[in-house]
Amino acid sequence: MTRKQRRGVLIGVSVGVLMVAVGLVLYALRDSIVFFHTPSDIAEKHIPSGERFRLGGLVEKGSVKRGEGAKVSFVVTDTLKDIPVTYEGVLPDLFREGQGVVAEGKLTPSGVFVADTVLAKHDATYMPPEVAKALQAKGVKLGKGATHPGSMTQ
């Protein structure tokens, strides 16, 4: 094999791997990313039911109801609009009424958000930045805790 041919093989393999990777990335980015919405966004943007997304906002005070088994329902609000959420599972340690929360799941045709994942930050004074930003954008006044520098858990 000449030097040129060897280089050809090398370039061919690299380009091949890269093409496959680009294809995979494009395919994955189309199908497996999740959007983030607040309750107001849902009302404005008419999110179709069955589409997977992340819902962020505050857990409305007094809305948490424990159902049968490990079923829980609560209301997520950005103080302008509310969305009822149901979840089956053990809630994270820092899930509290009045605190920021991010839930991932789908909307049913009746307008209930069925979450399969509920995230709360590992810091009592922390609010997920996307929740804080979204709420601020909606003109919701946040307490000191929302922008308090938390500690690390890296």
Binding site: L10, V13, L29, V34, H37, A70, H122, D123, M152, Q154
Partner: protein
């Protein structure tokens, strides 16, 4: 007083670093031995000063000096001693100080062990290393100073986030930083080589041990973090493709590629330009990890303090070192002569394939991590989760793992696949048996899972095959095999161990992901539940108190086939300071897998929510990483690689300028 001393030492360290950056580099330029000789004592002195600064801060933590703002924010007088110490790096400011300390430790190690490095190379390496230290000392002093006092001092501190009060996490950051920062040496060597315009195989021999040491620490650091999140966060998962995890994983992928390309460069004097580029990119990814974690631009389950000023500063540092390095590379790479021809099917060829796949995989992780940031700038909020990485990263790992056992069996320069394939017959056979057994035993789980397990088995058996072939087991008398085995270089054992660890990790990941059992239910005292052959009887909940927390402890009797196995006591803790709840899982470890019990909230009608998992073979993941670490250590102890091994550098010095 001691705190002021620490502060002063940090400022002095900055000044020493500035000297170390300017004088030796100038000396190397004008070939003045006296100026170049300054690098060595300066590097040691800089390390000494930073050590003083770090110990001063540690002293404030240990003695609970609440006149220091950083101690107030992150410590508490009732905290156990271990966590008062780990609290030093359990926050942004202190961990940055540790970062710089480790950076200077590596610089000092080059100064101390690099006695037979050529003068100019050593001067340039230490100067570049010092420039990184200057940037980060400035960063600490200007935006994240841990030595600031608070007046009047409060009676007690705010405490350390309780989920960080954990033995594994106490040592996770130092390990991780040693890995991150260790790649700075490879970067400094790369930049020094570009400045000098000279590069030969001896350069790779110098860089490889440092890269290997950094890679080992990063491997263990990531594994510790994964292990910690597994048992502490109560989700029973080992990896979440969280941006912060990715931030440490990308330098690992690039570092693994660097390790292998440096091998080609050392042995065959080829891939020079590529190795230099990888060295620059690996450290740049480490810097980017630091930026991502500390700037607050990413939404993550774990992130540091959000302060835009810091983010901009680190972004500037990152741009300077990445951009500067790449610009220098673009200017000078042309001067580096390519050497060492090889056929596509050869040891070099397999290592090139390894590099192509690892860097491409690293790029897909990078895209997945940064894509949300790009869209965020356009006002669209998305998150890229595990499905993305399963679709992109995993398919790229399959050819890598398939090719992995072939690599060490191929000869340098030119080889044939058939010969290697013959030697891998046994490994392939074993993989086929594993595949058949999986299909026979498991009727649930994804169809691809048995193939994953077979692939892991193939990698493990393939790694051992290499050693078996080298020792010619079965072809020669046993005594001869033993003699051959003993005469193998340690790096051969290191390679086998590390590759075996990769296979073990793959088996663990696939088994846990595909065959995990999960149950969520409400249990009242007296209730029983079965999972994975175990029977758990819930006896109720008892209160308990720890040194700085109160807890509710669930009591579970675990039996298997009627015989008692163990008692599990998962608990929910409420810490005193800060008042924050944590979940402590109850875990029973066996060779089959982990039985993992989490106690949830009390229910209105009595009883508790309980989450049960059975994670088959999950320990293989961390065991695999540990074996990779040990493999790296064995390889590092090889005489040929030993830092400062005599006899090599003289040849280096005599090498003609290229």
């Amino acid at each position: 007083m001691i705190i002021e001393l620490g502060h002063f030492a940090l400022v002095l360290a900055l000044l020493v670093a500035i000297l170390q950056m300017v004088v030796p580099a100038w000396g190397a330029h004008v070939r003045d031995r006296r100026l170049m000789a300054m690098a060595e004592p300066a590097a040691l002195c800089q390390f000494g000063l930073l050590l003083v600064a770090f110990l001063a801060l540690m002293n404030a933590y240990v003695t609970s000096d609440f006149s220091v703002a950083n101690v107030v924010a992150n410590s508490h007088s009732t905290k156990p001693l271990l966590y008062r110490i780990s609290g030093v790096w359990g926050n942004h400011e202190g961990s940055m100080l540790l970062w710089v300390l480790i950076l200077s430790l590596f610089g000092a190690a080059v100064a101390a062990f690099g006695r037979n490095l050529p003068d100019t190379l050593k001067a340039n390496v230490l100067a570049v290393q010092a420039s990184i230290a200057v940037a980060f000392c400035l960063f600490i002093l200007l935006t994240s100073n841990p030595f600031l006092r608070i007046d009047p001092p409060p009676a007690d501190g705010n405490g350390l986030n309780p989920i960080l009060q954990d033995p594994a996490l106490a040592f996770h950051p130092p390990m991780l930083y040693t890995g991150y920062v260790g790649f700075s040496i490879a970067y400094s060597f790369a930049i020094a080589a570009l400045i000098e315009g000279r590069l030969d195989a001896a350069w790779a021999r110098w860089v490889r041990p440092w890269t290997l040491a950094a890679w080992m620490c990063l491997t263990l650091g990531i594994a510790m973090g994964s292990w910690w999140s597994y048992y502490e966060l109560g989700w029973g998962g080992f990896w979440f493709w969280d941006p912060v995890e990715n931030a440490s994983f990308m330098p690992w992928l690039a570092g693994t590629a660097l390790l292998h390309s440096a091998l080609v460069m050392e042995k065959r004097d080829a891939l020079k330009v590529w190795t230099i580029l990888l060295a620059i990119l690996t450290f740049s990814l480490s810097l980017m990890g630091t930026f991502l974690v500390r700037s607050g631009v990413l939404t993550s389950v774990h992130a540091f303090a959000v302060d835009p000023r810091r983010g901009v500063f680190i972004l500037a540092i990152m741009t300077l070192f990445t951009g500067g390095g790449l610009a220098l590379f673009a200017l000078r790479a042309r001067d580096l002569r390519q050497g060492g021809l090889f056929a596509p099917i050869s040891r070099e060829g397999s290592l090139v394939l390894n590099n192509i796949l690892l860097t491409t995989a690293c790029a897909t992780v990078l895209v997945g991590t940064l894509y949300p940031l790009v869209l965020q700038a356009l006002g669209i909020k998305i998150s890229v989760g595990p499905p993305y990485f399963n679709l992109t990263f995993v398919p790229l790992m399959v050819p890598l793992l398939l090719a992995l056992p072939f690599g060490p069996l191929l000869a340098w320069k030119r080889s044939d696949v058939l010969g290697a394939a013959q030697r891998l017959m046994f490994a392939a056979l074993l993989a086929a048996v594993v595949l058949a057994l999986d299909f026979a035993v498991f009727h649930r789980g994804p169809v691809l899972a048995p193939f994953g397990l077979a692939l892991g088995a193939f990698v493990m058996a393939g790694a051992v095959s290499d050693l078996v072939y080298r020792a010619r087991l079965g072809n020669v008398p046993l005594a001869e095999t033993w003699r051959r085995l003993k005469s193998q270089p340690r790096s051969a054992f290191g390679t086998t161990l590390a590759h075996f660890g990769v296979g073990l990790l793959v088996v663990g990941v696939v088994a846990t992901s595909a065959y995990r059992e999960e149950r969520i239910l409400v249990m009242k005292p007296g209730d029983e539940v079965s999972i994975a052959g175990y029977k758990l009887a819930f006896r109720g909940v008892a209160p308990a108190t720890g040194p700085n927390y109160r807890a509710e402890v669930g009591l579970f009797d675990v039996t298997r086939g009627g015989a008692p196995v163990t008692k599990l006591e998962p608990s929910k803790r409420i810490y005193d300071a800060p008042p924050q709840p944590t979940t402590e899982a109850g875990i029973h470890v066996s060779w089959r897998g982990d039985l993992y019990v989490v106690l949830g909230d009390a229910q209105k009608g009595g009883g508790y929510a309980v989450r049960l998992y059975f994670n088959p073979l999950v320990r293989f993941i961390w065991l695999g990483a540990l074996i990779m670490f040990i493999g790296g250590g064995v390889s590092l102890s090889d005489r040929r690689l030993r830092v400062g091994a005599p006899g090599r550098a003289r040849r280096f010095a005599a090498a003609p300028a290229e």
